[in-house]
C-alpha cells in the first residue's frame, strides 16, 4: 500500500515514526528515495538506467536499538505497512529493495562492537555494522572473523546473516552460518528474542536456523555473537594450470578430503581464465587456473603445501608458482568491481549453486550447454570457489553484451535465462543458490526447488508474520 504524501494519514504515520526514533532519524526525502530504490540487483540498476518508474520506499528510518525496531514493527502491524530491512545495499538478489514501498529500516546505526571475549574467542556485535569496520576494530586486537567476501566494504553483518553469505576463506573458516554463536532477533510482531547462548547443543531446535538465510522475511537480526580467530602466522598461496577442468575439480576434491584443510581453493574454467584472469592478473594461459592456500603455523603450512603440490602434479597440473597465487590474493576483489566487473548496458547474472562432487561437474556442463545452446547472444563462464568435504560451489555467470534496449524485454530475456539455467541445475541435484540468496530475483523458483516441503516455509511465515508485512514478495513467499 503506497501512502499518498498529500493525505493526512501519511503525516500521521510519519509523526508516529518520528516519535519512536526522533525527528532527525526518519526521512521521506527524494534523494533517499532514489538511493534506496537501487541495490546491486541488475534489474533495479536497469530500471534506474531506463525504466519508466522506480519503486521507492515511503519512509526510511534509522533506529538506534532493538527496542526502537520493536516499536516500529508494532506500528507497522497496526498500519499494515510493509517493512524492508536495509544493511549496506550490496545485495544482488533484490532482497533489500522495498518492492511494496512502505518503510525501509536502515540498520547502520546499530553498529557497535559490544564485547570481545578473548578467552572464548568470540565477538558480540550489533548487526548493522559494515563488515570492514568490524574487521578494522578486530585488527587492533590481532584477531579477525576471517569473513572476507568481496562486499566486505559495504555490506553489514546482518546482511550476511540474512542471505548466508560467504567469504574468500570459507573453505577453512566456514560460511557466515558456521561462525554464529548466538543472535538477538526482533520478530515481525515486535517481540525481541535471543537464541541460546551457544550452538551445538542438544537443547531442542536451534532457533538460529530459523533466521539465518531468512532474508528479512521472518524477523530482523539485531545482534550477533561470532567466532573470531587469531591472525595466522602465515598464509601461503600456490597456483596451477590444468588442461582439463575435470583434473582441476579432482584436485580440489582431494585437497579437501586428504585431511589438509586449505583455507582457499579457487578453480576457474577456461573461458574465465582466458577473459577475466587475463584482464585482472595479466595471466595469458589457456586452461583452468587453480589457486589454493593454507594458513596457520609456518611449519604446518609448508608441510601442507608439499602434500598439496603432489596431489596437483599427479593430476597433470602445471605449477605456476607461489607468486602467481599471491597475485591472485592481492587482487581477489578486483574481479567483482568496476572496471573489471560486468556492468550496464550488459546484462549479467551470477547463477551460483552447490552440489556434491558426484554432481557438480554435470551441473556445470548442463548450465553451460543451456546458455550456449539456447542463447547464442550470451556467454557462460564459471569458477568453483567455496569447497566442502562433500562438494563444492559453482559460481557460474552468463553475460549478454547487448541486451534489448526496452527494459521490459531486457528483463524478460534476463529472467528466461535464469529460469533455464537454474532448472538445469535443479534437474542435476543442484540448488537455486549458494550464498547470494533468493530475494525477488529467483523467488518464483522456490516451489520448484522445495516441492511439497515449501509449504513448511509458507506456514512458518504465516505463523510469524500473519500480516505479511515483513519484506513481502521475497523468497517466493507471496505478497
Amino acid at each position: 500500500m503506497k501512502y499518498d504524501k498529500n493525505t493526512y494519514l501519511y503525516h500521521m504515520l510519519l509523526h508516529e515514526l518520528r516519535d519512536i526514533v526522533g525527528d532527525d532519524f526518519v526521512t521521506d526525502n527524494l534523494a533517499d528515495k532514489v538511493s534506496y530504490s537501487v541495490d546491486y540487483y541488475w534489474v533495479s540498476e536497469l530500471w534506474h538506467d531506463r525504466g519508466p518508474k522506480r519503486i521507492e520506499p515511503d519512509f526510511v528510518i534509522f533506529p538506534r536499538s532493538s527496542e526502537e525496531i520493536s516499536r516500529i514493527m508494532v506500528l507497522a502491524n497496526e498500519y499494515k505497512i510493509p517493512v524492508t530491512v536495509w544493511g549496506g545495499g550490496g545485495g544482488s538478489q533484490g532482497g533489500a529493495l522495498p518492492i511494496c514501498n512502505g518503510i525501509v529500516i536502515d540498520m547502520k546505526r546499530l553498529n557497535k562492537v559490544i564485547d570481545i571475549d578473548s578467552q572464548s574467542m568470540t565477538v558480540e556485535v550489533e548487526a548493522g555494522i559494515i563488515m570492514q569496520h568490524l574487521e578494522w576494530e578486530l585488527e587492533k586486537y590481532g584477531v579477525s572473523t576471517m569473513h572476507y567476501p568481496a562486499s566486505i566494504y559495504c555490506s553489514t553483518l546482518g546482511g550476511f546473516v540474512a542471505h548466508r553469505g560467504t567469504g574468500v576463506l570459507s573453505t577453512k573458516y566456514g560460511k557466515i552460518e558456521d561462525m554464529i554463536i548466538s543472535m538477538e532477533v526482533v520478530l515481525p510482531s515486535g517481540e525481541i528474542i535471543k537464541t541460546l547462548s551457544v550452538p551445538k547443543t542438544a537443547s531442542g531446535i536451534d532457533l538460529n536456523w530459523f533466521f539465518i538465510g531468512s532474508e528479512g522475511v521472518l524477523g530482523i537480526v539485531t545482534k550477533v555473537k561470532l567466532v573470531i580467530h587469531k591472525i595466522p602466522e602465515i598464509r601461503k598461496f600456490q597456483a596451477f594450470l590444468f588442461k582439463d577442468l575435470s583434473d582441476g575439480l579432482e584436485t580440489g576434491r582431494k585437497l579437501m578430503q586428504e585431511g589438509l584443510q586449505p583455507c582457499v581453493i579457487r578453480l576457474y574454467d577456461e573461458p574465465e581464465t582466458k577473459s577475466l584472469l587475463k584482464r585482472v592478473l595479466g595471466i595469458e594461459k589457456e586452461g583452468a587456473y587453480l589457486v589454493y592456500a593454507f594458513d596457520g603455523k609456518e611449519k604446518i603450512v609448508n608441510l601442507s603445501h608439499d602434500y598439496a603440490k603432489q596431489i596437483a602434479v599427479k593430476l597433470n597440473g602445471e605449477d605456476l608458482g607461489t607468486e602467481t597465487g599471491e597475485e591472485w590474493w592481492l587482487n581477489r576483489f578486483k574481479f567483482f568491481f568496476p572496471p573489471y566487473v560486468f556492468s550496464l548496458p550488459q546484462a549479467f547474472g551470477t547463477c551460483d549453486t552447490v552440489a556434491t562432487y558426484k554432481d557438480i561437474e554435470k551441473i556445470y556442463n548442463g548450465m553451460k550447454k543451456t546458455v550456449e545452446t539456447n542463447y547464442p547472444q550470451a556467454r557462460f563462464i564459471g569458477h568453483f570457489s567455496h569447497w566442502f568435504m562433500w562438494g563444492c560451489m559453482l559460481y557460474a555467470r552468463f553475460i549478454i553484451d547487448n541486451p534489448p534496449g526496452d527494459p521490459g524485454e531486457a528483463l524478460h530475456l534476463y529472467n528466461k535465462i535464469w529460469d533455464d539455467v537454474l532448472r538445469s541445475a535443479l534437474s542435476n541435484n543442484g540448488v537455486l543458490n549458494e550464498h547470494h540468496g533468493i530475494g525477488i530475483k529467483i523467488g518464483r523458483l522456490m516451489k520448484e526447488q522445495y516441492k511439497n516441503s515449501f509449504k513448511l516455509l509458507q506456514d512458518l511465515k504465516k505463523q510469524l508474520d500473519p500480516n505479511n508485512i515483513m519484506n513481502p514478495g521475497k523468497m517466493g513467499l507471496g505478497f
Partner: protein, 369 residues
Amino acid sequence: MEIEKNYSILKACRFCPMCKHLCSSGNLTMHESDYPRGRGLIMYRIYKGEDFNPDYVNSLYNCFMCGCCLAGCEGNFDLPVLIKSARANIVLKKLEPGLIKNLKNNLIEKENIYGGDFEDSFTYKNESLGTPGGDIVYIAGHSINYKHFEIAQASLDFFIKAGLEFSLISREPDCGKALSLLGYANEAKEASLKFAKKINSMKIKKLVTSDPMVLDCILNDFKSFGAEINSGVEIMHFSEFADSITKNPAISFKKYNKKITVADSEFLCKKNNRCENVRNLIKKIAPDSFIELFRNKKEAYATGEAAFYQNGSLFRGGKELVGKISNDAAILGIKTIVTLSGTAKENLTAAAKQDIEVLDISEFLIKSL
C-alpha cells in the same frame, strides 16, 4: 551542463559499494544518499534529465569533498570533481541553499567564509611582525586568519627563531578554493586571479601556508582558473618548509617522550601526496615515541578539512567525524595528536579524550624548541 562535461567520470561509477566503508559523510549520517553511490545515482538521474530538487541539492552539498572514497575506487570515479561540477550546475540554475549563498556573499564581500572584517584578522593585526620585501610570504588561510590565531603565531615564532625574514599580507586575499568547492566557478576564477596578482607583485621565492586548501588550490586549481604564480616561487605547507630548514643550527629541539601521532590532512596528504614532511619533523623530536594511527596517509579518516564551510551551521558532525581518530589514539596510548590545518585542530580538540593534547605542527615545533 557541467555534469555532462564530466560524463566519463559519472559513467565510471557503476553504483557498486566498494567505497562505502571510507565515506566520511555517509558513515556519519548513514543515509544512502550521503554515500558516493547515492550521489552517483542522483547525478545519473540529473544527467538523464531529471531536475534538481531541494533534496538532491542538499545531498550534493552534504558531501565533505574529502576524497576518502578515492582510495577504494578502482574505477576512477572521482566524486569530488563530479560534485563540484554538479554544484556549478546548481549555482547556474540559482538553486543553491540559502546558507551556501550566505557563504558566497561572505567570500565575495569579505574574502573569507566567516564574513569577518579584515581588521579583525591575524595578518592585519600583526603585519608589523613581517618584513616587507622578504623572500617568504606567509599565508594563514581563512580558518587560521580569522579563528586560530595561535597557529599563525606559532608559525611566525618559528620563522623568527630560525632567523628568517618573512612578510604578511595585511588584507590577505582569498585564493578562490572555497568558492570553487561551493560551485561558484566564475567567482573562484576572479578570486584566484586577484590572489595571483598580489603574490606575483611581491617578488618572493617561497609561499608558505598553514592551510592545505590554499596549497591545493594553487597547485591544482589555478591552471583551470587561468591564474598562475610566477615560476620559481615554491609553494609549501608550513610542515614542508619547517622540515626543509631543520638542519639550521639555530634550531634545536628537546626530545619529546610521550606517544605522539599525526592526523593526516585531506588536502596535503591524500590529494597532494605530501605525507612525509610532518612525519620527518615529529620523528626528529620524538624518535622513539611516534606512532602511526591504525588508519593513516591515503586511508586516514577525514578531519573535516574539506568540509570547512560546514562550520557548525551545516555540518555539526565535526566532533563525531574525528571521534574515530581520537578513539584510535586512545587505544594506542597516544598523548599528542599533531594536526595540519585550523579545521582539523578545531574538530579534534572538540573530540579528543581528556588526556590527549591536540597541537598544530607549528605549535608542536615551538613547544619543542
